[in-house]
Symmetry: C2
Subunit: 205 residues, 2 copies
DNA sequence: GTCCTAATCCGAATTGAATCCGAACAATAA
DNA sequence: TTATTGTTCGGATTCAATTCGGATTAGGAC
């Protein structure tokens, strides 16, 4: 039965807990961060933590909310300008601002985002990445015309990572906005358009 | 100090533990799956589990290895055929086979993949998704020419999810194969090519 | 100023899951 | 058979998360 902070000092306490959460995440990792760590860093007793958060997970949630809120707060005021730009320029702007946000404060948000998207298994994901990269190489060897394409490594990285994530996320969705068939056709077209577009880019030089 | 299984029955035990891990994951979720649960389902004592796995996390790792191995085993023999196909057909084939694998056995692998890519926070990711979708809508309103594009929702889904994941993953990478600038330009071109390609598709009808 | 109440803070005690360990139980070899 | 090594087991231990009851403080009433 967590309580809502009412007095000013309580709000400060809640804030210091979330703050400490980020610090501990950077210092001890997500598993290593005990409630005692967090309370110590926040400069409060363990019990106080449970006045405002039902459990440790809720602290993480609050951290998450903060990241999300900041991302939204970043995009919202940017929208009017983005909307007027050329689409490529808009994407570019968004990407760099997004990075700036994630890197802020020694990458504190990035560390959280990394865990949220579980990069713990980053290294073990390698085999899949590798075999897909191999596939790309083999494919290119069989289709000499696409060899002229620049950025093959970059585009592969994007397509492989982005594609896998989209599919996994979609399959896990309880009530997806789009069907799997639509997603699949979309990915197919995406890859097709990228190849066509990149090749066209080269030809017109 | 986990041990390598040497006798046949020990190998069977190890296997039953990994197997039980998948079952428990489906039954109790990732947090709810205690070592005792796993041991019970595997039909062994808790202690036996620790003969072969240093800790619970290693059991999860073994499960992960299995998923990865199966994905690789799926792609490997497929490569010769994929390589001969038209690229769109190849992507399509790969996607459906990938889904089939993840869905196998009542989605046991998908459940793991979902946790590995932490879909726990799926719902809370919504605000970011929403604001980006809004951005797309606003953008389209300011650029009537792209309104003719079909698949706007699908392409947005792919670009938003795939793009965010690629960026977060890349920023978390310790020794990235490509620079952030390359990734960003790649994403920019990807979006550009998709828009161009989709519009061209419509025009040529 | 004093009093009172609710809000806040605390940390020792409890709980429960992960992990360890040593005894008991198979397999294998000599 | 006996010795040796591999395997299984579940009670004992450890450690972090969570609870609880009391101490402390803010802020309004008088």
């Amino acid at each position: 039965m967590p309580r809502k902070p009412q007095q000013q000092r309580a709000k400060a306490t809640v804030d210091s807990i979330v703050e400490a959460g980020f610090i501990c995440l950077g210092r001890y990792g997500i598993e290593g961060s005990t409630t005692r760590h967090i309370a110590d860093v926040a400069g409060i007793g363990v019990g106080s933590l449970y006045e405002y958060f039902a459990n440790k997970h809720e602290v993480m949630d609050a951290m998450y909310q903060r990241v999300v809120a900041d991302v939204v707060a970043m995009i919202q005021p940017l929208t009017p300008q983005l909307v007027k730009m050329d689409i490529r320029e808009a994407v570019r702007t968004l990407l760099y601002d997004f990075r700036e946000l994630l890197m802020r404060d020694d990458g504190r948000y990035l560390k959280y985002a990394g865990h949220a998207v579980n990069i713990a298994h980053r290294d073990n994901l390698e085999p899949i990445n590798k075999i897909l990269m191999d596939l790309v190489v083999q494919y290119v060897m069989h289709h000499p015309e696409v060899m002229k394409m620049p950025n093959i490594p970059v585009m592969s990285y994007i397509v492989i990572n982005g594609g896998m994530f989209s599919v996994i996320r979609h399959l896990g969705e309880t009530s997806p906005m789009i069907t799997f068939d639509q997603l699949a056709e979309g990915l197919v077209d995406m890859v097709g358009h990228i190849v066509d577009g990149e090749l066209r880019k080269v030809e017109t030089i």
